[in-house]
Every structure is written in structure tokens, then in C-alpha cells.
């Protein structure tokens, strides 16, 4: 899992059936101080996160399938699984 900041969202009407009704967020990996690390990527929202929120993002498909409970052939790879209140480092 990675610590990220939500920087926006992506609107896509035509989607793979597995993505129907899901919200796609753009997340930027960050360090403990909040500085950007690497490039942003997309993740499905599971916790009603919004732009500016610091979040925990799961980036492993098997964990995503366990959480989403939508069967074994779910083509989703990254999922926002938590909104961070505080980081002590």
C-alpha cells in the first residue's frame, strides 16, 4: 500500500463493465512530509475520498478482489482504501 494524495478525478462514460459505477481518482504518491514521489496513477475510490485528501492506496490486484467482492476476474489493480488523518514520522 502506498501513501498518496488525491489530485483529481477522471470521467469516463464508456468503460469496461467491471468499472461501471466506480469513481476513478488520480492519486500522487507522496512521502511522509507530503512531497510528491514519482508519477501519479489512477485508482478506484472505496472511501469517498476527494481532491487534496491524503489516502492509502492498495496497488495489488488480489487484495482489491478480496475487498471488492466482485468475483475472481475483476480487472482493477489499484484501490483507495483509507483516508489518512495523521502521519507520525
Amino acid at each position: 500500500m502506498r501513501l498518496c494524495r488525491v489530485i483529481g478525478n477522471v470521467v469516463a462514460t464508456v468503460k469496461h463493465p467491471a468499472y461501471r459505477g466506480q469513481i476513478l481518482l488520480i492519486v500522487q504518491p507522496i512521502g511522509e512530509g507530503g512531497a510528491d514521489i514519482g508519477t501519479s496513477f489512477l485508482a478506484i475510490d472505496r472511501v469517498q475520498a476527494g481532491p487534496g485528501d491524503r489516502v492509502v492506496v492498495l496497488t495489488e490486484g488480489n487484495g482489491v478482489r478480496q475487498i471488492m467482492q466482485m468475483g475472481d476476474i475483476l480487472p482493477i489493480r489499484s484501490l483507495v482504501v483509507g483516508v489518512v488523518d495523521r502521519v507520525d514520522a
Binding site: 483529481g8 470521467v11 468503460k15 488520480i26 496513477f41 485508482a43 478506484i44 481532491p51 496497488t59 490486484g61
Partner: protein
């Protein structure tokens, strides 16, 4: 999952078993400001997209799961056609050509999630 711009189509008559009937497209991965990000990729299409479209891609094993029937031997699949990218803190340039280098510009290597 990441964004990309479709730049062309790929035709391959002789393919590995399991890849028959899959539509292949050439895709340029882009970042949150729609600037080029990494080398061109060949991806399987699942949403009837075409050259010029900005799309959502999924990589690795999940790409195989996006195909019908699943477990096609591919490592990138197009799973959505983007209508709009909304990133208030970034200046998204819809043409993807004149984006100014920000933090993401000097980004190191980051795994495609």
C-alpha cells in the same frame, strides 16, 4: 491503472495462442497533465476505442482479466474512454502538447500501478 493516448493500431496476423481476435492498439502513456510518460505500449482494447482517444489502461495480470475470454496473454488493456480529466492542482492541458514541467516532470521511475 494509468492514462494513455491512442496513437495507432497494430495488426498482427500470427499471434500466440489465446490472443486470436483481440484488437491491438498502440498507446502512449501520459501523466496527469497529459504529457508523454514512458515508452509506447501495445494494448488490447475492450471498449471500442480508436486512435486519438484518451483512455484508461490497466496493466499486468488485471489486463488479462479485462479481456473476454479472460486470461488472454497480454500485459496492458484499455478499460475506459476518458471524457474529462479534472485535476484542480495540476494545469491539465487537453492537447497534451504544451504542458509545463511541474513536479511530475522530474519524476523518477514509478511502477505502473
Amino acid at each position: 491503472m494509468y492514462l494513455g493516448r491512442i496513437t495507432g493500431t497494430v495488426v498482427a496476423t500470427r499471434k500466440a495462442d489465446g490472443m486470436e481476435g483481440q484488437k491491438l492498439l498502440l498507446v502512449q502513456p501520459v501523466d496527469d497533465q497529459l504529457r508523454e510518460n514512458g515508452p509506447l505500449q501495445v494494448a488490447v482494447d475492450t471498449v471500442q476505442s480508436g486512435p486519438g482517444d484518451l483512455v484508461v489502461l490497466v496493466g499486468s495480470r488485471e489486463a488479462a482479466l479485462a479481456c473476454q475470454p479472460h486470461f488472454v496473454p497480454v500485459d496492458a488493456a484499455i478499460v475506459g474512454i476518458v471524457d474529462q480529466v479534472d485535476a484542480p492542482e495540476r494545469e491539465v492541458d487537453k492537447t497534451g502538447k504544451t504542458g509545463k514541467a511541474g513536479n511530475a516532470g522530474k519524476a523518477g521511475k514509478a511502477g505502473k500501478a
